[in-house]
């Protein structure tokens, strides 16, 4: 049967067809749907782990028990999980272990654009890279086969365009699950103390040699000989872009991007005169091919940054092409993403902005508050960083920083990697304030469960962590729980906690406005009374999507130049603008 599937859906389907029934992950765009889709198949164990490191360790444990285990994450998640990944490469996997890295060229929803093919070379782990959904389904199966055959973890690399593009996929009959689980005691192989690790280190190099031989005949490294004057070596999505604009060129399409098939590449180079290496981000293939002494053209003409498209490839190769331009020359006002109507973060950042503190941000919807007019954040590096950075800044500034250093972090992000830095704050003492924005879900990636929600990925009720008790157990003594939709109470709580000696934590509790299970009772949309509105624009400072400015609506005896207006079709009636209005014009 043929169906339309995204790359992510296809990866989930392929794993299921391959008889995989065990997967762990932490959500992150563009990888999230892989796990959501996989969890819908019968008889699977699928879990959201608190972070990617835990997910990989869970998958390693399952593999050691004989399972075929899958760990899924976005590219930066591999950084979090790097520690176990580098060493499971030494021990091997017993069952099978595939780690999916979903990279994000062009940073559509990420803080950096790292090329995770480098991890394959760095950790000496083979890596497959599909070019579309159909291949994604096939390659995940091959990844598990290779893992079993060579007793190695295997990476499957996707990119945003592969994960989120849809293509026609042929469904196949799922392989029957075979229970091979049991105990295998082998301390020399699995206890990585130096004496054993040294031995495994040598085994690893032997495996590398075996894999290098294997890739020479790996059927997904495909040569297409057409025009002998010009050829392209490529992998993944850029293959499609290149085929689109240079259908007559010869191709060497690499299904496995690490290790490389040296003989096959030499063979291709001996047949084709001029060779381009087309790859997004780093010259990963190019440098290795050039090191073989083969002359190729790569980053001299192709960009290092951002994802490609057919036009970028065409323009790089055929220099004098005419670039298409828009006939419309006026500047169009941009549409940056914004916090939703009714979002509780809006209240928190409005109140926090009044404190004039330096705010360390973190990864989540609330990162959007950095934009005008809220300008709620002054730094954002990675998951969990806000707390450690607030501590470091508070310590460095000493008395100067007292009452002026804040870190904000979401509930899911706090549980991902905020607990240890908060423990550090209590342990090493400072005067910073940490605000946990508890909206009861992992909102940015689309409402995933986490240990604080009381439900697991399979929809079953589970143990719910009590954030207040947890924070207290870490050694934090000043803790307040507030409702961020109450601006006055939020402001005074922030003021009080900033004035205190020692670290403080405020837990701002209010469910995400889009969160269905929270069952937020719809409130009546608010209205601006045009007689009372003085046109002060205070409500516009909330940057709430339904609130707009109507120029030219004047009033006798008032200096106003216009009034505010609320679009009742999208207003949730959260009441923030009512609290901000000094003239009682909103109700």
């Amino acid at each position: 049967m043929k169906v339309l599937m995204s790359g992510n859906e296809a990866i989930a389907r392929g794993a299921y067809e391959a008889g995989v029934r065990f997967a762990a992950a932490y959500p992150g765009t563009p990888s999230t749907e892989i796990m959501e889709e996989f969890s819908k198949y019968d008889g699977v164990h699928a879990e959201w782990s608190p972070n990617e490191k835990v997910a990989v360790e869970v998958a390693i444990g399952a593999a050691l028990a004989g399972e075929k285990a899958l760990a899924v994450m976005k590219h930066v998640g591999v950084n979090v999980a790097a520690d176990p990944i580098f060493t499971v490469s030494y021990t091997g996997t017993n069952g099978a272990l595939v780690i999916i890295s979903a990279d994000d060229p062009s940073l559509h929803s990420s803080q950096n654009e790292q090329d995770n093919r480098n991890y394959a070379k760095f950790a000496k782990i083979p890596m497959l890279e599909p070019a579309d959904a159909e291949e994604a389904k096939e390659y995940i199966k091959l990844a598990f086969e290779i893992s079993e055959k060579f007793d190695t973890p295997v990476f499957l690399r996707s990119t945003t365009r592969v994960s989120h593009s849809k293509a026609v996929v042929t469904l196949e009959k799922p392989q029957k699950y075979e229970d091979k689980t049991g105990f295998t005691f082998n301390a020399e192989k699995y206890v990585m103390v130096p004496v054993n690790a040294r031995t495994q280190r040598v085994e690893l190099e032997k495996r590398q040699q075996a894999l290098k031989k294997f890739v020479e005949t790996f059927p997904e490294n495909k040569m297409e000989i057409n025009n002998l004057d010009a050829g392209i070596i490529t992998a993944g999505m850029p293959y499609n872009y290149a085929k689109e604009v240079f259908p007559d060129y010869s191709y060497l399409k690499l299904g496995m991007v690490y290790p490389l098939p040296e003989k096959l590449i030499r063979d291709f180079a001996s047949k084709v005169k001029k060779i381009y290496v087309i790859e997004e981000l780093d010259p990963f293939l190019e440098e290795q091919i050039k090191a073989m002494g083969i002359k190729v053209i790569g980053k001299e003409i192709f960009p290092y940054t951002n994802e490609f498209d057919p036009g970028i490839i065409k323009n790089a190769i055929e220099k004098n092409t005419q670039v298409a331009v828009s006939p419309y020359k006026e500047v169009l006002s941009p549409r940056p993403p914004n916090l939703c109507p009714g979002c509780p973060h809006r209240g928190l950042f409005y109140a926090l902005g009044k404190s004039k503190a330096y705010v360390h941000g973190d990864i989540g919807c609330y990162t959007l508050s950095y934009m005008k007019p809220l300008e709620g954040l002054h730094s954002c590096i990675c998951m969990g960083a806000s707390i450690g950075m607030a501590h470091g800044m508070s310590k460095a500034l000493k008395e100067k920083g007292k009452g002026k250093v804040v870190g904000v972090i979401g509930d899911s992000t706090f549980l991902h990697s905020g607990i240890t830095p908060l423990l550090n704050m209590a342990y090493n003492h400072n005067h910073a304030l940490i605000i946990i924005l508890d909206n009861s879900t992992t909102a940015m990636t689309g409402m995933q469960e986490h240990p604080g929600t009381g439900y697991n990925l399979l929809g079953a009720e589970s143990k719910k962590v009590n954030l207040k008790v947890l924070v207290s157990a870490l050694g934090i003594e000043n803790i307040k729980v507030i409702d961020p939709l109450d601006i006055k109470a939020t402001r005074s709580a922030i003021k009080e906690e900033l004035a205190k000696d020692g670290p403080s934590v405020i837990i701002a509790e209010s469910p995400c406005a889009l969160f269905k299970r929270a069952n937020i009772k719809p409130k009546v949309a608010l209205k601006v009374d045009p007689d009372k509105c003085e046109g002060c624009k205070a409500c516009l400072g909330l940057n709430c999507p339904p609130i707009s400015w109507k120029k030219g609506v004047t009033k006798e005896g008032s200096k106003r130049k216009g009034i505010s207006f609320i679009d009742k079709t999208i207003c949730t009636g959260c009441g923030l603008c009512e609290q901000v209005c000094k003239f009682g014009a909103i109700s």
């Binding site: 593009s165 057919p310 419309y328 939703c340």
Partner: protein, 193 residues
């Protein structure tokens, strides 16, 4: 480029308008009609009220899910000013379908930037086939403003050679039973628009 007769449609609009659902439906219809199809979009950050686009490409064999600039045959814009944002992707003889509904971006809401004036006239001046109507109003007629995306699908179906029966089947499959009738009505209103 050697033409393997791949055609491209660009869906454009604002997060929350049902653009991705509409492009899914069109892909299903194209697949049912026996052609290869790919589509591409970006999720995540883009969903929070930002710009949304979806490239749909179809033909005998499709490689790239993204179209080149200057190559797209049909633009279907779910919002008026969004139609102006992606014109560099279009061929000079492209057909354009525009929902004339206006959704203000933040800077326009704040009174810091104007909403572009004369968008339709501009499009008509530069492109020969411009179809424009208020899809939200037609959707209301069908029974719910949220069916505006299916109204627009009705309009684009006029420009494609896919059997009515295929469209009907795909729409039936795409919605819960109680919403099918309303969406079929919306589709018909789009055809007539």
């Amino acid at each position: 480029m050697v033409d393997n007769q791949v055609k491209s449609i660009l869906f454009a609009g604002v997060g929350g308008q049902g653009i991705l659902r509409a492009s899914d439906i069109i892909c299903e219809a194209i697949m049912e009609a026996g052609l290869d199809v790919k589509k591409s979009e970006v999720h995540g950050m883009a969903q929070r009220g930002g710009c949304v686009t979806s490239h749909v490409r179809y033909g005998k064999k499709v490689y790239s899910p993204l179209a080149e600039t200057g190559s797209i045959q049909t633009l279907i814009s779910f919002e008026k000013m969004e139609a102006l944002r992606y014109l560099k992707f279009l061929r000079k003889d492209a057909a354009i379908i525009v929902n004339t509904e206006e959704i203000y971006p933040p800077a326009v809401n704040m009174g810091d930037a104007p909403y572009p004036k004369g968008a339709i006239a501009f499009l008509k001046e530069h492109y020969t086939k411009v179809i424009h109507f208020n899809a939200a109003e037609l959707a209301q007629k069908a029974g719910n403003i949220k069916t505006a995306n299916v109204v627009l699908l009705g309009a684009i179906s006029n420009l494609m050679t896919i059997d009515q029966s295929i469209w009907q089947n795909v729409i039936k499959k795409s919605f819960p039973e109680k919403l099918v009738k309303m969406n079929l009505a919306a589709f018909q209103l789009g055809i007539a628009a």
